[in-house]
């Protein structure tokens, strides 16, 4: 079995564990703030989505690189009833 340097790392010491605990806790708070900020953006996002769905019917959808395809109205997806999330 091949061994790597990573396999030889000593167990995390108390200082490093405290560093982890502190920063994991702060990251949780930061993540919650991002989720809230992104939820508050939803009214603007609804307009951006309307514009996007219009653009792909008129200018076109980028299939690959600069290759564009105009999407027929019948193919435009309908908004589902579930809550729209962008951060997971």
């Amino acid at each position: 079995m091949a061994q790597r340097v990573q396999d030889k790392k000593p167990k995390r010491n108390k200082t490093a564990q405290a560093w982890m605990d502190e920063n994991v806790a702060e990251q949780k708070i930061r993540h919650r703030a991002i989720v809230k900020e992104m939820e508050e953006l939803e009214p603007k996002r609804k307009k951006w989505i309307r514009d996007f769905l219009k653009t792909i019917q008129t200018r076109g959808f980028n299939v690959d690189g600069d290759l564009l395809r105009k999407i027929p109205k019948a193919e435009i997806p309908k908004e589902p009833k579930r809550k729209h999330r962008v951060v997971w």
Binding site: R4, M20, F52, W88
Partner: protein, 324 residues
Amino acid sequence: MARPHIEPYVELDAPFKKFDLNGFKGSHYKVLSLDTDTGACTLKVRFDGGFKRKAGMSYSDMEFFVLNGGVKVGNEVWGEGHYAFVPAGQHLGAMSVPKGAEALVMFNDSEPSFVESDRNHQLALTESFNSFNAYNDAPWGPGNLVSPSVATGVGIKILHYDVLTQAITFLYYMSPEFQQNNISYHDCAEESYHIWGASWMMQFGDLPTGGYFWRPPYIDHGAFKCKLGCIAVGRTDSKLHNYFHFNPWANPDENKMRAAAHLYRQRPQLYEWAASDGHNHPHGPPDFEHQHYHDDAQVRHLHNHAPVGVKEGTQKAPKKKSRR
């Protein structure tokens, strides 16, 4: 869990914190993202003028990108735009920072670690060490590295490429008035830090200078616009494939199923074999070319397995035992 979805995060207004871990004392840092289990992380680090550190090594692969200022490392001077990939166990010369510097510092396998040493660890994969100025010493290439590709107006410089996982680190730009009217997702996690300039995505709005994201696999992003241009550092943790579509409300589970449907259609034999009974290899099937790939730290990380030699779920500090 691995790193959470951090997007968008603009770090410029967040304060730096004192960095009190061994090898970093005297510097300051901000966490951009952090793996809550392994400690793998992306940091923005500020080295004030006068910072010094002796020669040594880390137990994690480390990537270093100088945002501004200069860092003397051994006999090299790492100026603005300098990139280094330092494999775990690779000895780095003494570090000194005469006038101050800021850098993105990425530890890919575990929390930041440093031990003084004047030589490489005997297991260090030193052939993957790389150190060069990304602004001056690497050419721009077109953005169409993969197919389907981004639209014209994106340029890329590859800084690091992992041959086993096809993870890449790259510098990229979007030109002024760039636009790409599709929604994208990938099988890989993706990370970016905006060195300068702003871009826009339909889900997240503007990502300005100092803007950052760590995005887990299968999460929608785009359409894309860039009004005045931007330059950024990007990374993936494995092979990047662009799955483009135009459903603004698709969720990661639906995207994952769609990706599997691609596999079903385009590599039917592989799909059938992988999905059939008796082929459930939790640590990956044998590969006669890369016989020990199961032990590779990056491969194990992708499958949420602890490094070889470390029992799963035992990475917390042990309780202190009495010496008697």
